[in-house]
C-alpha cells in the first residue's frame, strides 16, 4: 500500500469510478478497451445504481477486470449503493465472494458480508464521517476510505492526522456528484411509468436526464433511482499543492471524452499542465458548469478558484 502523500513529491493515483449510467453492452466493452491504454491506475467496475440494469453479468465484469489487470491496472468490483430486495443481497454476496478482485462496499449490507473475512474498500455512501468510525471499520478489514462527497479538504486533513498510515484515502474529483438514492425511479417517473414497468428507459440517457428549475437553470440530473448534481465536480487543482491531499483522485465516467479527462488529470499530476489550464480544457469536455464547493466546506454547487481561502 502506498504511503500517504504529503506534498508535491509522491504521485497521486487516478481511479476510474464505476459507470453510473445505463449503457448498452457494446458501449461498455468499447469503453473499457479504450481505458486499457490510458494512464489510469485503478478501475472500479460494476453496477452501483440499479439492479435491473443487466448489460453485463458478473462473469463479464470479471473478464473485463482480467484484461485491465493484464494492462497494469488495479481492479475493484463495486457494489450497489441502495439495496431493497433479497435478490439484490444475493447478488452482492456473489460479488463479495468472487475471489479475483477487491470489493468496494457502498452499503452496510456488504460490510456485514465482508467484515473479518476479506479486505474491502469503503465507498462514499458508507457514511464514514469521523476517524473513530473509520478505525472501527479498519479493524474489520477496510483498507481504503472513499470520502463522502459532501466532506471538505479540512475534514480530509483532520482524518489524515489520525488515520493509520497504511489506510488510503480517495476523493471524488471529477464528474456529476451522486447526491441521493431513492426507491422511486425518477427516469421512469419522467416517462410516466412505475419502476416495475420502466421499460429500461434510462438507457436513453447515457449521461443522465437533465432536471432544470422553472427559470431554465440546469439543477440536477436524474439517473434512474439516483439523483446527481447537474454541475460537474472538478478537483484538478487539488492534485498538486502544499497541503496534504487524498491518495487517489476518482474520475467518474461520462459517455464521451473520458480518456481526454484522464489525460488532463494525468498531465496535471505530473506537473506538465497547470491546474488552471487543465480546467479550461476540461470545461470544453462537458455541457455544464463546474463546481467544487464541497472541497471548500461550502454548498456543493458553488465554485471557488484554487486561491480562495476556506
Amino acid at each position: 500500500m502506498a504511503v500517504t502523500t504529503s506534498g508535491t513529491d509522491m504521485p497521486v493515483r487516478l481511479s476510474l469510478g464505476p459507470i453510473q449510467y445505463y449503457w448498452p453492452r457494446e458501449k461498455i466493452l468499447d469503453f473499457y478497451r479504450s481505458v486499457e491504454t490510458t494512464p489510469i491506475d485503478i478501475v472500479y467496475l460494476g453496477e452501483t445504481v440499479c439492479s435491473k440494469r443487466r448489460s453485463l453479468r458478473l462473469k463479464d465484469w470479471i473478464e473485463i477486470g482480467e484484461r485491465l489487470r493484464s494492462a497494469g491496472k488495479e481492479v475493484v468490483l463495486s457494489t450497489l449503493a441502495l439495496l431493497e430486495a433479497n435478490s439484490e443481497l444475493g447478488h452482492v454476496r456473489k460479488i463479495c465472494t468472487n475471489g479475483s478482485f477487491a470489493i468496494e462496499a457502498n452499503d452496510m449490507s456488504a460490510v456485514q458480508m465482508l467484515a473479518g473475512k476479506t479486505n474491502f474498500i469503503g465507498g462514499a455512501s458508507l457514511n464514514i464521517y469521523n476517524p473513530r468510525t473509520l478505525k472501527r471499520l479498519v479493524g474489520m478489514g477496510l483498507t481504503r476510505w472513499v470520502m463522502p462527497v459532501e466532506l471538505s479538504q479540512d475534514v480530509l486533513a483532520d482524518f489524515r492526522q489520525e488515520m493509520p498510515v497504511a489506510i488510503e484515502s480517495e476523493v471524488f474529483a471529477w464528474g456529476r456528484l451522486p447526491i441521493a438514492y431513492s426507491a422511486r425511479c425518477y427516469t421512469a417517473r419522467a416517462h410516466k411509468v412505475p419502476k416495475d414497468a420502466c421499460g429500461y428507459c434510462c438507457i436513453d440517457y447515457p449521461d443522465g436526464l437533465m432536471l432544470s428549475t422553472r427559470e431554465d437553470e440546469d439543477f440536477l440530473v436524474i439517473n434512474g433511482i439516483q439523483t446527481q448534481s447537474a454541475k460537474v465536480c472538478n478537483l484538478v487543482h487539488a492534485l498538486r499543492g502544499s497541503t496534504a491531499s487524498a491518495d487517489i483522485f476518482r474520475l467518474s465516467p461520462q459517455s464521451e471524452h473520458t480518456p481526454e479527462v484522464i489525460f488532463l488529470f494525468d498531465q496535471t499530476r505530473k506537473g506538465a499542465l497547470k491546474a488552471d489550464e487543465a480546467t479550461e480544457e476540461l470545461k470544453a469536455l462537458v455541457s455544464d458548469d463546474l463546481c467544487n464547493g464541497y472541497w471548500f466546506n461550502q454548498a456543493g454547487m458553488a465554485s471557488y478558484s484554487a486561491t480562495d481561502s476556506q
Binding site: 457514511n127 464521517y129 476517524p131 475534514v155 441521493a180 422511486r184 419522467a190 419502476k195 428549475t213 431554465d216
Partner: protein
C-alpha cells in the same frame, strides 16, 4: 388512562420490552418541545422521541428541542404516564467535534432515558463501551435497508431495534422483519423523505448544510420568498424551487418537493407535497410483526402532535383488537388528510406503484 388502553398497552412500567408482547405495536411519537411532548403522552403515545438543542440530531431548527432542564421535565411527565422517552443523537460527528456527541450521549444516559436513537458507528461504539446497559435503537439515518445491514449493528453494538428507511415495499418489510435478528420500527405517518434517509445530500449541495452534518434539510436561513408581478417564488440559496400564483399557498421550499422542468414538462418531478399515511396497511404491518410505528414531526405544533397521536392510537388499538376486520375510520382519514402536506396522503414506497 382508560381501561381499554390499559388492556391493550404493553406492561412497560416495569421495563418489560413490548417486543416480548407479540400482539403489541408500539406507537412512537415526536416531540420538539414540552407542550408537544405532553400532547403526545396525553393522547396515548407509548414512547416519545426528542433531541437536544444542537446539531447532534436531525431536526436542528431554531426554537426546537430541549436543553438539560427540559429533558428532566420531559422524563418526569412521560414517566408519570408510563410513556417511554427516546433521545435522538442521530447525526454524524466530523473530526474535531466528536466530543459534542459524546457529551450528548453522556447527558442522556445520566438522565436515564429509555433508549438512544443513533446513526454514527463511532457514536455507537462510544455508547456501547461507556454505557453498556443503555438501550440503543438504530436511527433511520443509519440508512439500513436489509437484514444484513441491521445485523451489522446488532452484532457490533447490541442495537435492539432498527428504524428503517421509507424505501421498502410491504413485502420487502416483511422479508426484512422475518430475517432480522432484532425488532423493526417503521414510519407510519408524516412528511415523506423520498430519498433514502441518511444518504441524501441535496440540501448540502444547494446550501452547504444537510441532515448528516448539520441536522437540517433545506434550512430556513437560505429560504427566500419573493413576489413578482403575478407570482410568488420560493428559493433556496437562490435556486428557484417553485413558483405559484399569488393567491395560492406556497409550500416550504424543500428541494425534493419543488417543481422542475424535465424533457420540457414542468411538474413535481421528484414528489408532490404529500404525507405518508399507513392507516390502510396497519393490519399488514401488524401481521408482519413490525414492533413499532413511528410518527414523523418533531418540528410540528402541539396541536398537530395531539391530533395525529390520537388518531394513530385509536387506529392501532382497533387494529390490534380485530385485525381481520380493520377498516380505517373515515373520520381518522379526513383528520390525517387535513394535517398532511398538500392536504393529501400516500403509501409511498410501501406501495410498488409509487416507486
Amino acid at each position: 388512562m382508560s381501561i381499554e388502553r390499559a388492556r391493550l398497552r404493553p406492561q412497560n412500567e416495569s421495563g418489560i420490552s413490548p417486543e416480548l408482547c407479540p400482539r403489541a405495536m408500539e406507537l412512537v411519537c415526536p416531540a420538539g418541545n414540552l407542550p408537544s411532548l405532553k400532547a403526545a403522552v396525553d393522547n396515548g403515545a407509548d414512547a416519545v422521541y426528542i433531541g437536544f438543542r444542537d446539531e447532534t440530531n436531525a431536526r436542528h431548527f431554531a426554537g426546537l428541542n430541549f436543553n438539560d432542564k427540559q429533558i428532566e421535565q420531559c422524563l418526569a411527565y412521560a414517566r408519570g404516564h408510563g410513556t417511554k422517552v427516546y433521545v435522538a443523537i442521530n447525526t454524524y460527528p466530523q473530526p474535531g467535534n466528536f466530543a459534542k456527541w459524546a457529551r450528548a450521549v453522556d447527558q442522556a444516559a445520566e438522565y436515564g432515558v429509555d433508549a438512544l436513537i443513533l446513526a454514527d458507528i463511532g457514536v455507537m461504539e462510544y455508547t456501547a463501551e461507556k454505557w453498556p446497559e443503555l438501550r440503543l435503537h438504530l436511527s433511520v439515518q443509519a440508512s439500513a435497508t436489509t437484514h444484513e445491514a441491521v445485523r451489522f449493528y446488532a452484532e457490533q453494538f447490541g442495537v435492539q431495534r432498527a428504524v428503517i428507511p421509507r424505501v421498502l415495499s410491504v413485502k420487502q418489510v416483511e422479508a426484512l422483519v422475518n430475517n432480522s435478528p432484532i425488532p423493526i420500527e417503521v414510519f407510519g405517518f408524516g412528511s415523506l423523505c423520498v430519498m433514502v434517509e441518511g444518504r441524501c445530500y441535496l440540501s448540502s449541495y444547494v446550501t452547504g448544510q444537510g441532515p448528516n452534518t448539520f441536522g437540517a434539510c433545506s434550512p430556513a436561513s437560505f429560504v427566500r420568498w419573493s413576489e413578482t408581478s403575478s407570482n410568488l417564488e420560493t428559493r433556496l440559496n437562490g435556486v428557484l424551487i417553485d413558483r405559484v400564483n399569488k393567491d395560492e399557498n406556497a409550500g416550504y421550499p424543500t428541494i425534493c418537493k419543488g417543481r422542475f422542468i424535465v424533457n420540457g414538462e414542468t411538474s413535481y418531478a421528484i414528489e408532490e407535497p404529500t404525507s405518508l399515511n399507513t392507516l390502510p396497511i396497519l393490519p399488514d404491518l401488524l401481521r408482519i410483526g413490525v414492533a413499532a410505528i413511528k410518527i414523523e414531526g418533531r418540528q410540528r405544533s402541539p396541536a398537530y402532535v395531539a391530533k395525529v397521536t390520537g388518531v394513530m392510537r385509536a387506529a392501532i388499538d382497533a387494529c390490534i383488537r380485530d385485525p381481520e376486520n380493520f377498516i380505517p375510520d373515515q373520520a381518522w382519514l379526513s383528520q390525517l388528510k387535513s394535517l398532511s402536506e398538500g392536504a393529501q396522503t400516500t403509501l409511498g414506497a410501501y406501495q410498488r406503484e409509487w416507486q
